[in-house]
Amino acid sequence: MTTPTGKPPLDRKTLIDLGFIEARAKVLDVAAFLDRLDRAPATNVTTDFRVDAIRAALEIALDASPARAERILNSWSDPSTQPIAHADGKAARGAHLPR
């Protein structure tokens, strides 16, 4: 594998057999998460940037272009380029705040 081709050793059918059930479960978990939010009591917050980030990522996952995982990670990343003045806490949030 020292010269990467990007091609897995296994064919597509074998990879589906190997990974379908796990992927199926993860898709259901995301759908159930969104359903849960819809069922939850309303607050004065109508949207959340993290949930918006997931919805945007799902559109990338469904398009026909390659490198979906990389493009989703880029879409969730802080687009700024300069260091911030001070750290605002220790923990990252998972998606960047809208500007």
Binding site: M1, T2, T3, P4, T5, G6, K7, P8, P9, L10, T14, L15, L18, G19, E22, A67, A69, E70, L73, N74, W76, S77, D78, P79, S80, T81, P83, I84, A85, H86, A87, D88, G89, K90, A91, A92, R93, G94, A95, H96
Partner: protein, 273 residues
């Protein structure tokens, strides 16, 4: 037989050492990191560094595992520049300990100006002592920006051979820029917040197995000290050869780490204390 080149064993039980040994672990390297709370004094780091260089190697040796350490103040506690400098002044004394491989895990957390300044000062310590460097890249939405800032700072510093630097916690959007600069890249196998084994294997298929390793980064949080041998099982299921599996889980970490004369896969004889 495998090496876990990034794991925080001070946070793990002795049972984990036993399970790792049973799974084939022969060596670990343990970077200095955040304990889950901020130390109240620099003296707390003095004791932590003693734990990494004295007691932890003995605990590992009881299971036939060679233990090595990296010394630094981690970026999560680097926001107070004066405090960070006090801790950094202790580093040179520990770099000469027999199980210490270099300076790490340094880097950025929230990409602040002070974190970046402390990172640059760590690089200078590593350069002055000709040490290997292990770098932590930020979490989640901060990773892409932080990785770019780190790579630019290394280039501007310019005193350390890129082949002696490993940039850890790469994912799909950062691995290429690290490899293209001649550095080594680490993929951390985490349940939620970094790479799963499946994605790490994807990255190997797309970017190759040169200058790349996998680690568990097992610590006090949601993590798995057996993540490396479990990834090996996944690689087999995905049709990868025994040679490629051995390269990613043993040969590559050994090649990078052996640039320090202190690295060995042979644990010292266990001692009872």
């Amino acid at each position: 037989m495998y090496i876990d080149p990034h794991i925080h064993m001070v946070s793990r039980t002795t049972d984990d050492y036993a399970r790792m040994a049973a799974a084939g672990c022969v060596a670990v390297t343990e970077p200095a990191f955040w304990a889950g709370f901020d130390r109240s004094s620099a003296a707390g780091f003095q004791d932590y560094f003693r734990q990494l260089t004295d007691s932890e190697p003995r605990r590992a040796a009881a299971y036939g595992i060679a233990h090595h350490a990296w010394i630094c103040i981690n970026p999560k506690e680097a926001e107070d520049h004066g405090f960070a400098r006090e801790v950094m002044s202790m580093i040179p004394a520990f770099l000469s300990r027999p199980n210490v491989l270099g300076v790490g895990e340094i880097g950025l957390n929230r990409n602040s100006k002070t974190e970046l300044a402390v990172f640059e000062e760590h690089l200078e310590i590593a350069a002055q002592h000709n040490s290997l460097v292990l770098i932590h890249t930020p979490h989640l939405e901060d990773k892409l920006k932080g990785t770019r800032l780190i790579l630019d700072a290394i280039a501007a510093h310019g005193k350390i051979n890129p082949a002696r630097i490993l940039v850890d916690h790469v994912e799909e959007h950062t691995v290429r820029m690290v490899l293209d600069r001649g550095m080594w890249a680490g993929m951390t196998l985490y349940p939620d917040t970094k790479c799963t084994a499946a994605r790490a294997i994807d990255i190997m298929e797309m970017h190759g197995t040169e200058r790349i390793w996998i680690n568990s980064a097992g610590d006090w949080g949601h993590s798995d000290p057996l993540a490396v041998p479990k990834a090996v099982v996944s690689m087999r299921a995905r049709g990868h050869t025994a040679a490629d599996i051995h390269k990613i889980s043993f040969d590559n970490p050994r090649a990078f780490l052996s640039q320090s004369g202190n690295f060995s896969v042979n644990a010292p004889r266990p001692t009872i204390s």
